[in-house]
Amino acid sequence: MTNFYNEILTDHNMHPVHKHELSCCTCSRDGINPSCGDEITLNLNVENGVITDGSFTGSGCAVSQASADIMLDLVIGKSVEDAKHLHELFVKMIHGDACPAEIDELEEAGALADISHMPARVKCALLGWRTMAEMVG
């Protein structure tokens, strides 16, 4: 049994900070999970190797939407290299392979650690992260 509908997740789902359009971003990309129908458009502003701003729009399950919002919280203001590193940690955590110190490093995204017990939902949690990694990778 799982318990990942904690306050962090429901809060980011109901009151996302980064869910809005972003004018004059340097790149944007669609991420889709066809089987679930989760779809987001991720916008990033990357200047001199730093993610200076970001946003997303779209719809889907709470896990996909909250995870994208939390991801943006984490990577905005960080270098592309740091964002890639966090992506790696997140993937590790979602597959149940991260140690407590690594989960700490993921800050609020650590609230999604329990999703590793729900294989069918892993791709929901990864959607925003995967899309971000594809954009900066």
């Binding site: 049994m1 799982t2 318990n3 990942f4 509908y5 429901t10 809060d11 789902n13 109901m14 089987s35 679930c36 129908g37 719809s59 889907g60 399950c61 709470a62 896990v63 729900m118 069918a120 939902r121 929901c124």
Partner: protein, 406 residues
């Protein structure tokens, strides 16, 4: 209502006494009687059926063919030659499309399917129509999932060769008037393919009474093992149809340049058959007959009524299809305002309630209804009020769990 605790017949509930299993439309649990029958077959009667020249193989053949006779009687077919064992309803429907379809559908012919068909009774016709440059047409339903004779008559043309429809939709749970539709089709020279995957397990089905040309269903949705399914076809039609798969046991005579094929039904059963599965299906039929459809329907209808009426009391719940519980036959598909079905399913899972979320292999219907995905609870006779209560208790908390105030 629970004079008899049927759950005691199902070992899975001994192992997991705390789950409320409400995903019976996806597959049912298996009673001990079925598990024992399959086990006995492999312990006492196993050999390669239909090929044997020794006693054990004769036993295997008898076990397999007796299962066919049980299916014949269960659905009221005229002859066991009309009963073809397949893997599941999907394979049965594909068999019709490949064999009958490729031999009979020509350019500009029309195939009519309902908008609510399961992908298994949709894609084989779509592919066939594309391949033959035939036209695929859709029969539309009302918001309550109802198909009318008037709409059917209007949709049929002299070119309509085939009409594909489920007796009970796996989303609406409504019983379609197949007998009436079959008469309309016959008058128009149109064959009717009935998908019985959700009806055969839950209501008495008699193919001659219904007047259908083909009926497809799966064993695993009616207490039998996975991997055994049935295609019923009228004998005259099956006789004329070319084989679907080629190989062992479906021939009469093979030479370097040709072959003649075995008689019905073996013509359509290439290769080694799933005798253990057929034996399990036979045991499932015996088990269902022992309880009787009167009792099965009474229990399932009572549970459905309880479910629908209680759900109607809860704000923000939208039931797909009719508001009348009698039109649901164990299947209640719904959405909750502002909560994604996958989140709903995960919260139910936390409470040990097994339900299904997604498009239920009916994407065209979801698009037609304007919803991305839905949640579905489906009951069987072995469920009880406690399962419904567990479901309702959890359902009422979901919006709050997701942060909404009501």
């Amino acid at each position: 209502m629970s004079e008899h605790d049927y759950k005691r017949d199902f070992p899975v509930f001994e192992k997991y006494p705390d789950i409320a299993y409400l995903d019976n439309s996806a597959t049912t649990q298996k009673p001990q009687a079925v598990i024992d029958a399959v086990s006995r077959y492999y312990r006492e009667e196993n050999a390669n059926p239909l090929r044997g020249l020794y006693e054990l193989a004769v036993k295997a053949t008898d076990a397999y063919e007796n299962a066919r006779i049980a299916v014949r009687d269960f659905i009221g077919a005229a002859s066991e030659r009309e009963i073809i064992f397949t893997r599941n309803a999907s394979e049965s429907l594909n068999l019709i499309a490949y064999s009958w379809g490729r031999a009979n559908i020509r350019e500009n012919d029309e195939i009519l399917v309902t908008i609510s068909e399961h992908h298994s009774n949709f894609l084989p016709w779509q592919i066939l129509a594309n391949e033959k440059r035939a036209k695929l047409k859709f029969l539309k339903c009302s918001e309550t999932g109802e198909y009318t004779a008037e709409a059917l008559k209007k949709a049929l043309t002299p070119r309509t060769k085939l009409f594909a429809i489920a007796q009970i939709s796996n989303v609406f749970g409504r019983v379609n008037p197949i007998k009436e539709f079959a008469e309309i089709c016959r008058a128009n020279g149109t064959l009717i393919v009935c998908d019985g995957a959700q009806s055969v397990p839950h209501i008495p089905v008699d193919v001659r009474e219904l007047g259908v040309d083909f009926l497809a269903f799966s064993g695993h949705k009616m207490l039998a093992p996975m991997g055994i399914g049935v295609l019923y076809g009228r004998e005259e039609l099956l006789e004329e149809m070319p084989p679907f798969l080629y190989g062992g046991e479906m021939i009469e005579f093979v030479t370097l340049c040709g072959a003649t094929f075995a008689e019905l039904p073996h013509k359509f059963e290439a290769g080694t058959v799933n005798a253990g599965g057929a034996v399990g299906l036979h045991a499932a039929i015996d088990y269902i007959n022992a309880i009787g459809f009167n009792e099965i329907e009474r229990r399932e209808n009572e549970l459905t009524k309880l479910l629908v009426t209680e759900m109607q009391q809860v704000p923000h719940i939208n039931i797909v299809g009719s508001h009348d519980p009698d039109e649901h036959h164990g299947i209640v598909t719904f959405t909750i305002d502002d909560v994604h079905p996958h989140d709903i399913a995960a919260i139910f899972d936390e409470s040990g309630v097994c339900i299904r979320a997604g498009h239920h292999c009916a994407q065209p219907l979801h698009k037609y209804l304007g919803v991305q995905s839905t949640v579905r609870a489906s009951v069987a006779f072995y469920n009880d009020e406690n399962d419904v209560r567990r479901f309702m208790d959890c359902l009422k908390t979901i919006r709050r769990r997701m942060g909404y105030s009501d």
